[in-house]
């Protein structure tokens, strides 16, 4: 390729132009004040099925906060999101970029990312709101806050309490635990003291890799151990594999199956597994009754913003809860120091001031404070009846299962 003198000048001109574009500030109209919230989720990793819902819901909820609720005390909410593929180094990369964009709070999807981000977020003075958390990230109390849900281990205690409340047999109830072979699945083992105190016997404990598609072995072991209940702690779509294998082995309908409702997407399970979900129990850390003020607001908001028939997906409460808590904290910080001076440190102070924060009945009122970072403190039991998620218990208060 011959480079002529003319083309050399052209290349030089192009390089100078690009340089000028990169260093000259963009001429944009004056923007209203914007407050930014960052969010990372898994869109390409092992729990991508959950992450997808978070993005969809986060977009319309942000629009609702800005267009319908008028933003945050005159400031516009900007919701920045990034894929972290369930990898803490990528969570940190995403956080660093968002911090430079000026976020005042970061929402993360899982406990591992929250733990890895903690020292960096603390240095950057940005609080973390986690959608799922293990006790090790919440205790001792620091910069990680759990929004609406309880921790996984607490939810299992709720399941145990539900069993105890409804058990009518003479012998102590027997439960088989199965789940993913990771912190989500194994979190149930933290509740050993509680099942012993409640007099419930754990007959089998089986954990399979997140990629497992065949759950026959743990199901057969549960059946052979004559378990009265099976508790499953994994996520969609693995939950459907469990139901399929339970049906094939003749276990479904004979041994009640209780699913972990923090991670399992009930609605996606019903869509995917259809009749197989009939009669299955879910323990969920929020009150999904349509009469609840918070749920009514959620449904109306969804319809107003999307223009479509609203859909109450249990996993939507993750984003709804996290953004509600975050925006409430930002509003309080804004009242304290003015909307232009809201920083991560001010948002953290505001979060610590949460006392009986009303979530519209979706969870019991949230109180943080210097010694508590757990959001929700109760669970509800649901069962799928005629294709509909139906409550079968009142609120069950659960303790904080500390590490």
């Amino acid at each position: 390729m011959r480079i002529t003198r003319n083309s050399r000048w052209l290349m030089l001109l192009l390089a100078v132009t690009l340089l000028l574009i990169s260093v000259t500030p963009a001429c944009t109209p004056k923007q209203a004040k914007t407050i930014k919230i960052g969010q990372t989720m898994d869109l390409t990793g092992p729990i991508a099925a959950s992450g997808k819902i978070l993005v969809e819901d986060g977009q319309w909820i942000t629009k609702y906060i800005n267009d319908v609720k008028g933003g945050l005390d005159g400031a516009k909410l900007e919701w920045l999101w990034a894929d972290d593929a369930f990898s803490p180094p990528r969570t940190i990369s995403a956080f660093q970029r968002m911090k430079e964009d000026g976020i005042v709070v970061i929402i993360v999807q899982n406990s591992t990312s929250a733990l890895a981000l903690t020292p960096i977020a603390e240095r950057a003075q940005v609080p973390i709101i986690s959608m799922n958390a293990e006790p090790s990230s919440l205790y001792p109390p620091g910069w990680v806050y759990l929004a609406f849900p309880t921790a996984n281990a607490d939810l299992f205690v709720g399941a145990l309490t539900f069993i105890k409340q409804n058990w009518k047999g003479d012998q102590p109830p027997k439960i088989a635990i199965m789940g993913w072979d990771n912190s989500l699945g194994r979190s149930t083992l933290n509740a050993k003291k509680y099942w012993e105190d409640l007099g419930i016997q754990v007959v089998t404990q089986d954990f399979l890799p997140p990629t497992a598609v065949d759950w026959s072995t743990p199901l057969v072991k549960a059946r052979d151990a004559k378990a009265d209940f099976i508790f499953v702690s994994n996520s969609h779509p693995a939950s459907e594999f469990v139901l399929r294998d339970a049906e094939r082995l003749g276990i479904r309908g004979k041994i009640p199956i209780i699913m972990n409702g923090i991670s399992v997407q009930i609605d996606d399970s019903i869509d995917a597994a259809g009749a197989l979900t009939e009669g299955i129990y879910w323990i969920i850390p929020w009150n999904l009754s349509p009469d609840t003020a918070g749920i009514k607001e959620f449904m109306e908001a969804q319809q107003k913003v999307t223009g479509k028939e609203p859909r109450l997906r249990s996993s939507s409460m993750h984003v709804w809860g996290a953004l509600n808590v975050a925006t409430e904290a930002i509003k309080r910080a804004s009242k304290n120091v003015g909307v232009d001076k809201v920083t991560g440190a001010e948002v953290k102070k505001a979060l610590d001031s949460f006392k009986d924060f009303d979530t519209g009945g979706i969870t019991p009122p949230i109180t943080y404070g210097t010694d508590n970072r757990r959001g929700g403190s109760a669970v509800w039991a649901y069962q799928v009846k005629n294709g509909r998620v139906t409550p079968v218990s009142k609120q069950i208060t659960v303790p904080f299962v500390k590490p």
Partner: protein, 349 residues
Amino acid sequence: MHLPSGTYSDSYQKDMAVIHTRWQWFLFIAFLLALFLFPLFGTTSLVHLLNSIGITLIAVLGLQILTGYTGQISLGHSAFIALGAYSSAMLSAKLGLPFFLSLPLSGLTTAVAGLLIGLPSLRIKGFYLAMATIASQFIIIFIIGHLKITGGPYGMSVPQAKLGSFIFASERSYYYIVLIVGIIMTFVALNITRTRVGRALIAIRDNDLAAELLGINIFYYKLLSFFVASFFAGIAGSLQAHYITVIHPEQFNLTDSIWYLGMIIVGGMGSITGTVFGVGFMMILRELVDIASPIVASSFPAIGGSAFAALGQIVFGLVIVLFLIFEPRGLYHRWEMFKAYYRLHPFSY
């Protein structure tokens, strides 16, 4: 390799030198200076990106020696990094050893483990060796995830690197550790490939039967290759553990092992410089995809954000396939072609 016009070697040392001219020395020193001064000007996210690139580079250099120079395919490199991370974490957290001692020790621990994993390579090669290394990936991670001492599925916290009373807590301070270790490891890797050992490894890669007939002990050199590669992975794992300060079995997965192979394909197999190009290119590409996905998704809200995030996976796969088809010798070959053109322009002789 083309040398600049008028440059010639009149001794073996000059012929084997990496840097031949004063101008090349000047550029090299300027480059090092720029690297050392970068944290003063770069943003925190860019410094973090360079830290990630540096740590990944050290790991992939090891894989380049094993796969690029010795021809032993390994799809379990991520597990070796995990071994390095966990051994360093345990040496620091449980035994209280200082970081600068646990760093080389974790490399050695991983290297010894690499020797064991490398034993099948004496009997099997190619596809079968790849399967054996995949098995080692799963076995190592399974063991790590089920031991109480490693924290099991919950992972473990790792103390930050310290030197005396100074804690390398920030990205900028840790950058210098990664930079210095990275320079040393690159220097070591380059010199391994330029010595008798490197020539033996290349001979094994090109034709192990002929190499054996020439008197090269392929048993010894294959194991040595695994040892060196695992040492590099162990060092990278230790650096990552003390940087992120939380390690978890799910961080070290098969997908990462495959991407490391992709990096050496893109950069150029059998080239240390190519490793630098490949790692830098792929990591920057991933960062750009992560930045672009939400921006593009907001322009096409009907399609959904997760679709654009998944585009990143498509982009990486496509890049590797395109390089295999159109530039199988990688970015390093393109760089050599550019240098040759630049040096010979406007005349070729």
